[in-house]
């Protein structure tokens, strides 16, 4: 029914879908510019759930907004490349694409579930209008009737009955709104769904239900998810791999298991100790001393060194490159992982021996294997 159904050679899971290279984003210009994202390389694979973690202001959302060209004033993309691989094998450069081309690929290739579903739905428009207008814009020959049928089908996918079509957002609960948002994001069967803190405003029970539904839907339709959150313990439950950002830079990326069991960057370690794990034994929360740096005046060398309890002398002068370490495609930007330095034991736990990103285990399966090693 839509032209976006796979027509070319079926691509296997694991191929690169969205490639971000050297992306830099500033807010403002000149000497006052805030360097929100600096030189980030990130690849989202077909069917993968990639978690993007970091404190508030670490550039997670900015990265996602810039990569989809939804960045608002005064945000400016100053460098980089974002490549989207279509099913057919053709590639689009999102940063070069014109407005017309962008409009066509938006929602049909990349859709968005935003931070607060409370405000992501237009308060004066019915659920039906908001579900169907993307269909109307992208599939002009679709009849009113079939648009409505598709809207009913989409609501059914997230467990909302068809009689809610005529409702307005204020008549729905927070969880329902977020479900509507998710249903809306799947309307055109996109390859990528970007989720920016999709469950942060919800209570933990609803949060859990929605995440489970989301993973179910992912298994059914095979879209990839870029999941942005500050909640690392949540990511470990649902993500295949996790990228950790600090002060606009990527500091570590690894499979969820590897990152959780054997973090290599001191910041990742700090984040892991800042949230209670959803499963496993009790561990005292320690947090990370200090606060994130001013993005207008970043510290020299490694941006994390003023807060790092393992900092070396060279950390204040030289910025560590993001380099591959160990197995499984892990990358980390920390001098401690560069011989001849030897990393402290917390940062040198043995790799759990999984590939770069495993086929998604169920959240429960992951949890079962996770108990002992966290202590």
């Amino acid at each position: 029914m839509s032209q976006h159904i796979v027509t070319g050679p079926e691509r296997s899971r694991g191929d690169a879908l969205l490639e971000i290279h050297g992306l830099c984003v500033d807010y403002g210009q000149g000497s006052d510019a805030v360097h929100a994202v600096t030189d980030v390389d990130l690849v989202l694979h077909r069917g993968e759930v990639l978690g993007l973690a970091g404190e508030s202001g670490s550039g997670k959302s900015t990265l996602a907004m810039a990569a989809t060209r939804l960045l608002r004033e005064p945000g400016v993309i100053t460098a980089g490349e974002v490549r989207l691989h279509y099913d057919t094998g053709s590639v689009a450069d999102l940063l070069e694409a014109g407005t017309g081309a962008l409009r066509v690929l938006r929602w049909s290739e990349v859709s968005l579930v935003i931070q607060s579903a409370m405000n992501a739905l237009n308060p004066v428009m019915s659920i039906r209008t908001q579900l169907t207008d993307a269909l109307a814009a992208h599939v002009p020959d679709m009849s009113r009737r079939s648009r409505r049928d598709r809207a009913v089908e989409l609501l059914g996918m997230v467990g909302i009955s068809a009689d809610r079509l005529g409702s307005h957002p204020h008549e729905l609960s927070g969880g329902m709104r977020q479900r509507v948002m998710i249903a809306m994001a799947l309307a055109l069967r996109p390859q990528i769904v970007i989720m920016d803190e999709p469950t942060t405003a919800l209570d933990v029970v609803t949060q859990r239900e929605i995440l489970e539904e989301l993973i179910d839907l992912r298994d059914r339709f095979g879209f990839a998810i870029l999941f942005i959150t500050h909640d690392l313990s949540l990511l470990i439950e649902i993500a295949d791999s996790i990228a950790v950002m600090y002060a606009g830079r990527l500091v570590e990326r690894a499979s969820a298991q590897a990152l959780f069991r054997a973090p290599r960057h001191p910041y990742t370690l700090g984040l892991l100790h800042s949230f209670p794990a959803l499963h496993g034994p009790r561990v005292p929360m320690t947090g990370i001393p200090g606060s994130p740096p001013d993005l207008r005046m970043l510290p020299s060398g490694c941006v994390f060194h003023p807060r790092c309890r393992f900092a070396l002398a060279r950390c204040a002068d030289d910025a560590p490159p993001l380099a591959a370490t160990g197995t499984g495609g892990r990358v980390v930007a920390c001098w401690l992982q560069h011989p001849p330095e030897s990393a402290p034991t917390e940062l040198a736990r043995p790799e759990p021996g999984l590939e770069a990103w495993a086929p998604p285990a169920t959240a429960d399966g992951q949890a079962a294997t996770q108990g002992g090693s966290a202590a």
Binding site: W107, A120, N122, V124, M125, H170
Partner: protein, 326 residues
Amino acid sequence: MRTIARRLAFYAATAIVAISVDFLIPRIIPGNPVNAILARMQGATLSKATIAGLDEQYGVNTKTSLWTQYIHFWGNVLHGNLGTSTSNGFVAVSTVIREALPWTLGLVGVATVISFVLGTLIGVLVAWRRGTWLDNLLPATTFFQAAPYFFIAFLAIDLFSTKLGWLPSGQGHQDLDFPALNWTYISDVLDHAVLPALTIVVASAAGWIISMRNVMVTTMDEDYVLVAAAKGLHRRRVIWYAARNAVLPSISGFSLAIGFIVSGALLTEIVFSYPGLGLLLVNAVSDNDYALLQGLFLIITLAVLAANLIADFVYVFLDPRIRQEA
């Protein structure tokens, strides 16, 4: 349904109070309205019956109780009998008002609607194109709103009427014209309306532009507008997502403005000698024409109430969130 009934009851009560106040005004203001009229009528001969009629109308020198007068007044109002205008050759007030009403509705009504629609659209555009040359529209239009109206109006008359001779400088239509509904008459009326309407629009558009622009600017930062853009909707549709929400506060302002159309644009009608209700009101005040004033107040009050009632319903229609409350 219950909400509607409750609103209707509220407006009915307000109307009753307003009409009662209208009844009381000539009876509680100091001085004797009939004497004032008689003093002005020096030289004219008024029959005893006429004076008695005036006495009765204003409740002076009568033996009937205030309550009886009040009931009587209501009877008259409900029959559309608003008394006799003393300053217009003893014509019924309702006739005087009926003659002036279309002029005001036509001129001020159309000008207000144009000003609102134009101002709101410009406001949307200025907000959407923030940071471009369009920003300069704001100080320019604000100047026209801030400058004294009569000054702008006289400048306009001087330029377009006296110097260029494009448009007539006043009146609603040419004198000595027999009003017949033919093109000559209509085009003549339009000719006379252009300049006053233009000055009203120029002087009031800034308010609509600024209020729409400001709300629009904040609305554009809402997440649902971002989502609309992320959906790949056409730009006009994205603007609509924001504008549809941003226009709500302006609608409230517009409903008030609609209500005050009937009171006429006083200054406009004075400057352009336009034969509308505003001019009527000014003349009624200067001529101590109490009956006419009473009638005008009544009409203005009812118009404001009716406009608010309509605005309430329109608002309910436009904003689904209101439907649940109250």
